[in-house]
């Protein structure tokens, strides 16, 4: 750790209490409770903790949570890029209104967000249940997984995720087609329910609704700061709209996009309020991890409580994993830049 001069020269009675306060605050507010979650989860031994996690309902809840998060991210990345582009690059009537509407999910209570969907798609709702045919389900799966492949290919090429393989264009194509094919052959998401409310589509919609500001909010200032000049330069150099987006716009906003996705992911995995209203809490069918934890915690007995904490630990691990992933990407990128400098020096 290196301090700059003015900080190092600050008097000790300012330095020491400030550092102590920061460490104490983070210890009490963040690390303490986190450790407590793990401790309580392991109170009745590893066996109980693993049994709780291996329970079919728990596994189903985990899968559902991840599914909802992935689909919410796909929707919000698409929406976020589109809206950030519109707001940062075009002048149009109602732009201020649109900008403030993006924040709506932040200001509306999640419970109301859930209720919106119940009132729209519920059995007696304004629109009512929608039907998803098996074909539509497969098409949806193909699109979603194809997008996942695309994101992975992009992450790999932009952040040098795997330094050894998947660099050329054909490898990228294989990754995208492979994932899309997987979605076509084997439905890996639970998009098969006919109804929306008290079913998976409702959970996905509610999750996407409460998380949609994250990506757009991250991208708008980034795109405004970068300005349109590089994109215009790309156009004058003969790039098509798509080439301009892929080679110039996307790499320029990659960090903003990444942070948006991570925030979106964290919130999507942990969302309780809105999902609680639309899910119907059917064990093994529409329970997400937070709802499942809540149900366990409300149950009787030490085993139930320990199980709730064990699964909470699982959720904490997901959060920590996100953090580690982010740090890894930053490290990888720094290393790449240093390599460039070294290469140039030699």
């Amino acid at each position: 750790m290196e301090f700059n001069k003015s900080v190092r020269e600050d008097p000790w009675y300012l330095r020491v209490p400030l550092i102590l306060f920061s460490v104490l605050f983070i210890g009490i507010m963040v690390i303490g409770p986190m450790v407590n979650v793990f401790a309580q989860g392991l109170e009745l031994g590893l066996g109980v903790a693993f049994a709780a996690m291996a329970h079919p309902h728990a596994l189903h809840a985990l899968r559902l949570t991840l599914t909802a998060a992935v689909i919410a991210i796909v929707l919000n990345v698409t929406f976020g890029i589109a809206v950030a582009w519109a707001i940062a690059r075009f002048r149009f009537r109602g732009k201020a209104v649109l900008t403030s509407l993006i924040d709506l999910p932040f200001s509306v209570s999640p419970v109301i967000a859930g209720l919106i969907f119940v009132l729209l798609f519920g059995a007696y709702g304004f629109i009512g249940p929608l039907e998803l045919s098996p074909v539509a389900q497969r098409i949806g799966n193909t699109i979603i997984l194809g997008f996942v492949g695309l994101v992975l290919a992009w992450l790999n090429s932009e952040f040098n995720l795997l330094s050894f393989a998947f660099r050329p264009r054909w490898a990228r194509l294989i990754l995208v087609l492979g994932f899309a094919g997987l979605g076509c052959i084997q439905p890996v998401t639970d998009l098969d329910r006919i109804q929306i409310v008290f079913a998976v589509p409702g959970i996905v919609l509610a999750t996407a609704f409460v998380t949609f500001p994250f990506v757009a909010r991250e991208l708008i200032p980034v795109m405004e700061a970068i300005g349109p000049e590089e994109e215009e330069a790309a156009r004058t150099l003969g790039a098509s709209g798509w080439q301009m987006f892929w080679y110039v716009t996307l790499p320029n906003m990659k960090w903003g996009l990444l942070y948006g996705v991570l925030l979106c992911n964290a919130r999507a995995i942990g969302e309780f309020g809105a999902v609680n209203v639309v899910s119907g809490k059917l064990a093994g069918r529409t329970d997400t991890l937070p709802i499942y934890i809540e149900k366990l915690y409300q149950g009787f007995g030490a085993v139930q409580t320990a199980s709730a904490f064990a699964i909470s630990s699982l959720l904490c691990c997901l959060a920590l994993l996100t953090l580690v992933f982010k740090t890894y990407l930053e490290w990888k990128n720094r290393q790449y830049l240093q390599e460039q400098v070294k290469k140039e020096a030699s």
Partner: protein
């Protein structure tokens, strides 16, 4: 004719940015669009490039109507004021971008990139990121990038605007030499009259969305079409007067009012009155540092200041000191009937 702009009109909301503008640029020429900010020169350049569309009028590039051509199909090179280099790509990738977009083989791209790096005298910076370059180097890379696909027309928007004076001068000379080597039809925008006079074959002087004059540097400097061009192309001293029997009489400002313009170097300072007119004046300020000597005089008759420039030799001969009384005589005066409204740079 390489570029033909005809009767172009462009509005931004209620603001008329270009008002019936017509310009012709011959093949291989180096043309300057000169004017104060807000004169529409950058808008005109962007319309030629296809980055903006004209509300009325037409643009022809090499006899071809460019109205329906997208930016990418116009085959132009555009150099932006703040370089607009792709910040995440190294210099070589920046320069090779246009060829990559055209799907050229890797070998051809790297050959062309190396050739251009030599041309801009930056052979060894190919793997650096733009942020690791100085302003002058960035501008040269931006130029190389614009030239990579061998454009038919090179457009430069205030190419030296963001650079300091010394680098600006160097790059200017370099661009002049480059243009005489590769002869690509070029149009550059500038608000610096010195830059335009020194660099361009032809100058298009613009103000408030209109063209004031088109001509060679010699023509616009020595034979300005109107008061605006006179004032914009260098410093001037103003004299109000009227026309009497075909002669200009200074002072009295009523009917037949005219304005006379005298550039600072078009005065003669003497110890004794010679010829007519010859006005008594006081030396207020002398600045002898530089190629020429700048002298501020105050006319004794109507208490106004004049800016005069004389050569070091003439200054030594006169041996002027502040506070001394002298006589000043305009050797040459341009007279225009109407004074134009003040403008801002």
């Amino acid at each position: 004719m390489s570029i033909v702009v005809k009767d172009v009109v462009k509005r931004f909301g209620n603001h008329l940015a270009l008002n019936q503008v017509s310009v012709e640029v011959p093949s291989g020429a180096l043309v300057a669009l000169l004017g104060p900010s807000g004169s529409g020169k950058t808008t005109l350049l962007r319309i030629i490039a296809g980055l903006e569309t004209a509300d009325e009028g037409s643009v022809h590039l090499h006899e071809e109507d460019a109205g329906d051509l997208d930016v990418r199909d116009r085959n132009i090179g555009f150099v932006f004021q703040h370089y607009a280099l792709f910040r995440h790509m190294n210099v070589a990738d920046n320069i090779g971008f246009a060829l990559k977009m055209r799907g050229r083989p890797k070998k051809e791209i790297s050959d062309r990139v190396n050739e251009l790096l030599r041309l801009i005298q930056l052979d060894d910076v190919g793997s650096r990121l733009p942020s690791q370059l100085s302003g002058g180097q960035r501008q040269r890379v931006a130029l190389a990038r614009a030239l990579a696909a061998r454009p038919r027309v090179l457009l430069l928007d205030e190419p030296f605007g963001a650079l300091d004076a010394k680098v600006r001068k160097e790059l200017r000379d370099w661009l002049r030499r480059l243009h005489s080597e590769i002869h690509v039809t070029s149009v550059f925008v500038t608000h610096d009259q010195e830059e335009a006079l020194e660099l361009a074959d032809r100058i298009v002087v613009m103000s408030q969305g209109r063209i004031e004059q088109i001509g060679t540097p010699d023509e616009v400097y020595h034979h300005p079409a109107n008061a605006f061009v006179m004032k914009f192309l260098g410093q001037v001293n103003l004299f109000h007067g009227r026309v009497e029997d075909g002669e200009v009489v200074l002072g009295a400002n009523d009917k037949d009012a005219v304005v006379g313009y005298v550039r600072p170097h078009q005065f003669e300072i003497t110890r004794h009155p010679i010829g007519k007119p010859s006005w008594p004046a006081l030396v207020v300020y002398v600045n002898a540092a530089g190629v020429q000597v700048r002298i501020e005089l105050r006319l004794t008759d109507d208490d106004r200041s004049l800016e005069v420039i004389v050569s070091q030799d003439a200054f030594r001969e006169l041996a002027l000191k502040t506070g001394e009384a002298v006589f000043v005589r305009p050797k040459e005066m341009k007279v225009f009937r109407d004074d134009v409204a003040d403008y801002a740079i």
